[in-house]
């Protein structure tokens, strides 16, 4: 029987329609139910039933033909149609294997090792001196209309700054022996300024090292974990987009990058720089990295949509206050994305 697995985040819904190992479909629906806006017209169950129905119909299926399994942030909503299985995100994130998931939305940063959360509106109001009334109103409107996305760099930067503020003085502990996958509404909802996705990734990697990074545009890691948990015979692997490799240091660095066909180039960077070296999706160049705090490191790394991103900023984990560094980072990402 086909399975419809859904993960309902704070801003959008990710859906996996599994028919067989060979035939499955991943979707994002960029809206979620808002009690304030919709409750006078229809219930949460009616809304999600219509959303799931819509995706089933695209494959000539009825929702009643599928086993429906859901998870949500942090708990799935209680829906009054026939659900086969539901599970909280707390329980589900631990079941993601082979990758280190970092789920980010406007209200939280969630990994297998930590959960950092903030009520944006209450937080905003308790520190009104930090925000102008327009910003407070924006956050308040996102409470009513949760799917809203910022359409300009400045607003999205402010949102990202607030997300990073969730960490306070804490530092994310991130392993360097597993690919990092970045998911959650911050990365799955449509973003008008995609360069800021990479800036956010750099700010979330707050330690030195070499990291394989992927952006999970459909929350596939969560959805496949949900599917595998529901039916252990299925055992599917997620398919996040390969973005490349982040080389993160707190000081200047020198790195030789040698391609598989034997060409090589040396990257030398001072402290507090961001630089992107385009490396194709299917390429796996070898690097030799020298930096004062890291023993000379030789390894093969992944290319990807972005390539190799060098980040030598001394202070990571917060939105960049130095506009020169910020602008050069944005420009590097724009060039790599061909924007």
């Amino acid at each position: 029987m086909p399975v419809l697995a859904a993960y309902i985040d704070t801003q959008n819904v990710s859906i996996l329609l599994y028919i067989s190992h060979e035939e499955y479909y991943l979707y994002n629906f960029p809206y979620v139910y808002s009690n304030d806006v919709f409750s006078a017209s229809y219930s949460e169950s009616t809304f999600y039933q219509a959303v799931f129905d819509y995706f089933c119909k695209q494959h000539k299926l009825k929702l009643s033909d599928c086993d429906v399994v859901i998870s949500g942030f942090l708990e799935p909503p209680r829906l009054d149609f026939n659900l086969k299985y539901y599970i909280s995100l707390f329980d589900l994130i631990r079941r993601v294997n082979g990758y280190f998931p970092i789920l980010v939305n406007n209200y939280s940063i969630f990994t297998q090792q930590g959960f950092y959360c903030w009520d944006a509106v209450k937080g905003a109001l308790s520190s009104e001196e930090m925000m102008d009334s327009e910003e407070v109103n924006f956050y308040s409107n996102t409470e009513l209309y949760p799917q809203l996305v910022a359409t300009d760099l400045s607003t999205q930067s402010d949102i990202d700054r607030n997300i990073l503020g969730l960490l306070g003085s804490a530092h994310l502990r991130i392993p360097d022996n597993q690919p990092l996958i970045f998911g959650g509404s911050r990365f799955t909802q449509i973003n008008m300024v995609p360069e800021l996705d990479y800036m956010m990734i750099l700010n979330l990697i707050q330690q030195e090292g070499v990291f394989d990074i992927r952006i999970d545009r459909n929350n596939s890691a969560i959805l496949f974990a949900l599917l595998n948990l529901y039916d252990s015979n299925i055992n599917m692997e997620p398919t996040p987009e390969l973005e490349g490799t982040v080389i993160s240091t707190f000081t200047g660095l020198e790195c030789m990058v040698k391609s598989e066909v034997g060409t090589s180039q040396v990257v030398q960077l001072d402290k507090n720089r961001i630089f992107v070296l385009p490396v194709g999706l299917n390429e796996r160049p070898a690097i030799m990295l020298k930096s004062p705090n890291i023993d000379t490191l030789e390894k093969r790394v992944s290319g990807g949509r972005m390539g190799i991103i060098f980040d030598t900023r001394e202070n990571k984990g917060r939105q960049i206050d130095d506009f020169r560094v910020f602008n050069s980072g944005i420009k590097s990402f724009s060039n790599a994305l061909g924007i």
Partner: protein, 328 residues
């Protein structure tokens, strides 16, 4: 592409509304009786106002508990401050040892407030009425309920708000729910609270103003959201048509409920589906600066954007999905 539908107005032709006396009294209708809004459905004797004094209040020449005082007569002191009776009433001692001044009981008449039928009467206290209503969605509202006469300001400029407040609420303001326009400021809200209005509704307000309403426990509702966002035209049109009608503010349910007469023909029916396919000519409400809250018509769409026209002569503007809803 499918997007969710917002329906600001819902017509319900089978709604139950309970009208309740503040204390047990006499019900003046029977099951099955047809009523109109100004019909009396119940009556009781009720003390409308109670003033509670702090612990340091010392009564003056109190001979018995529950002693009667006329308005303006000295009743005691708080420290060195002389306290007079705020209205005709009785001074009583509470079990906690403090004092309260209770207005003399007056006749309280409970009106039906709706066109409908008495479905049930309950214990000399309440009447359940079956009626037809328009429900207008309030996207943000304080958690309180109030029923009263609706006063509609004509979407005034800030300069005229105070004038309208004086003009429209002269006399008894305490039984009124006032629509003050596209936007309400904290200053105007403060004035409205001083006037003792029962409820304030508007298109939008700053978050700070909303919090102020919440702190002051006033019934306060917004049709569009936070910031400077206009009230949708069709909502304003309905409000304007029902000015002076008895309406029900139900904050916990995010609705303003407007009773409709039996002959009223519904303009809006119940929604069929929460999602709607985007196509040319469809009405949408924009949630993106600088058009936030404006309603337009779809001109065309791409995979991630909808191009919207606000009138036939202007060029279409690009709105990113999901910053848009279909509107019915």
């Amino acid at each position: 592409m499918y997007i969710p539908v917002i329906s600001k107005l819902q017509f319900n032709d089978n709604v139950f509304i309970e009208r309740v006396l503040p204390v047990a009294g006499e019900l003046q209708v029977e099951q099955g009786k047809e009523v109109v809004p100004y019909d009396h459905v119940g009556i009781c004797m009720y003390s409308h106002r109670v003033y509670k004094y702090p612990k340091n209040f010392k009564p003056k020449s109190l001979k018995k508990d529950g002693q009667f005082y006329y308005f303006g007569v000295d009743i005691g002191k708080i420290d060195s401050q002389k306290i007079t009776a705020p209205y005709n009433g009785n001074l009583t001692k509470t079990p906690e040892g403090t004092f309260e001044f209770r207005e003399v009981e007056n006749k309280y008449i409970l009106m039906s407030g709706v066109w409908g039928t008495v479905e049930k009467t309950i214990d000399k206290k309440s009447v359940l009425l079956r009626t037809r209503t328009y429900d207008i969605n309030l996207v943000a509202s304080t958690d309180c309920s109030f029923a009263g006469e609706l006063i509609v300001f004509p979407n005034p400029s800030h300069v005229l708000e105070k004038f309208y407040l004086d003009e429209f609420t002269s006399g008894a303001a305490d039984g009124k729910i006032v629509y003050v326009g596209n936007h309400v400021t904290t200053n105007l809200l403060d004035e409205a609270i001083k006037y003792g209005l029962g409820g304030i509704i508007a298109g939008s307000a700053d978050r700070q103003t909303f919090q102020y309403a919440r702190r002051n426990n006033i019934c306060f509702g917004l049709f569009s959201g936070f910031g400077e966002i206009p009230t949708p035209d069709d909502v304003y049109k309905v409000l304007n048509e029902v000015s002076n009608r008895y309406v029900f503010f139900q904050g916990e349910r995010n609705i303003l409920r407007i009773p409709m007469p039996p002959e009223a023909v519904p303009v809006k029916k119940k929604l069929i589906s929460p999602l709607k396919f985007v196509k040319k000519g469809m009405n949408v409400v924009i949630m993106q600066k600088p058009y936030f809250g404006r309603i337009g018509v779809v001109d065309r769409n791409t995979e991630s954007s909808i191009f919207v026209k606000f009138n036939s002569t202007e060029n279409a503007v690009e709105i990113k999905v999901p910053n848009v809803y279909a509107i019915e």
